[in-house]
Symmetry: C2
């Protein structure tokens, strides 16, 4: 029997595992620094791997790293939207907001940095990624409202509210996460109901949705 080789000092990761390890390291750095100040070398150091390895995964440099991190954050964000069709739609909205605010809280400065971009961000591609998340969020909400073929006024109401939520989360991060997440969540849910009620004055479809929401409360 030959003596066993000592186990390697590090676990060998698959390509996908390695990639997500590096992206996690990048996102952790983005949480404290704007994208243009994060170099591939920093990512190597953060992940505890060699520089050439990082360069092998992101031959396109900072720009590629930024976009990959943005895409990975976008995927994670989409997971927040998964909500069973149970209970009142406003309670569901509250649960989605809880997960969304936890995501914002966790990624912190990285959330603003990713959303606001920076000088490394080739905006048209990056903003297409962010716009994709916004569109998905709107679709999810409209589906939970049981609005078949939602008309332009109902769609616009939902998309405006999403823009307001996004603005709120950036301000929330700027203001040291005040008010507390639970209060912000309730406030946002109430705003949703309020703007829907305004739309309902001029849109029968929004009125029907509002009637269902009010019956649930």
């Amino acid at each position: 029997m030959t003596p066993q080789a000592p186990p390697p000092a590090y676990r060998r990761l698959s390509v996908e595992e390695r990639r997500s390890q590096l992206l996690e390291a990048a996102l952790a750095l983005f949480a404290h620094r704007p994208p243009e100040e994060v170099s591939l070398d920093d990512v190597a150091e953060q992940a505890g791997v060699s520089r050439p390895l990082v360069y092998r995964y992101f031959p396109g440099g900072k720009q590629q790293l930024y976009e990959a991190a943005l895409r990975s954050a976008a995927d994670e964000l989409r997971l927040c939207f998964d909500e069973p069709r149970q209970g009142s739609p406003l309670a569901r909205l509250a649960r989605v907001l809880d997960r969304y605010l936890a995501f914002v809280d966790q990624h912190d400065t990285g959330f603003s940095a990713l959303l606001r971009g920076g000088s490394v961000a080739e905006t048209s591609r990056a903003s297409a990624i962010v716009d994709g998340v916004r569109r998905d969020a709107a679709e999810h909400i409209l589906r939970h409202l049981d609005a078949d073929e939602p008309g332009p006024r109902l769609r616009m109401t939902v998309r405006m509210w999403i823009a307001a939520v996004e603005a709120a989360s950036l301000i929330w991060l700027d203001e040291e996460k005040q008010p507390p997440a639970e209060e912000l969540r309730d406030w946002l849910v109430e705003q949703f109901a309020a703007v829907l009620a305004v739309t309902a004055r001029r849109d029968p479809q929004a009125e029907a949705v509002l009637r269902v929401l009010s019956a649930d409360v």
Copy 2:
């Protein structure tokens, strides 16, 4: 007496006049094409001037032209906010929105392009310009609401509403300017009152502002 020289075929413009002529030409082009597709040569052609002249004014190329155009649009936008402190605050808000929507209508695709940036836009500087306009808009509104030292909840409400208005105008342009501007304006004003009422449930300052607004209606 020596014979008079014939008048020049074109009027001699001051540096400032020439600059604004070129920026107007650029904005006109941005109204139909994304910034990355507008070259300095296009601007020369649009303004009916020589190419070297345009290069003299914008030696920094596309990027400089884009930022200058953004700054000029930002200045124009700020003019929309000028509103005398007369009549009810909501009526004032409606008049500001009328001017704002006329601006959006006039600049059309250029408005989205300027806001959304493009691959020529070095985002951090460009977004600082856009953020400056948003901040100014918020200050104007808070002043018209007679909110001395507005607290975080009132500020956040106003800034969230501004984000919603911005989203609404981009969607409005995408949807062939439907609903009509007057309806969109009324809808946005009513939303403002509605979200303020939601904030008033948890913020005495917002409640006081709301009381004044309601007394005026």
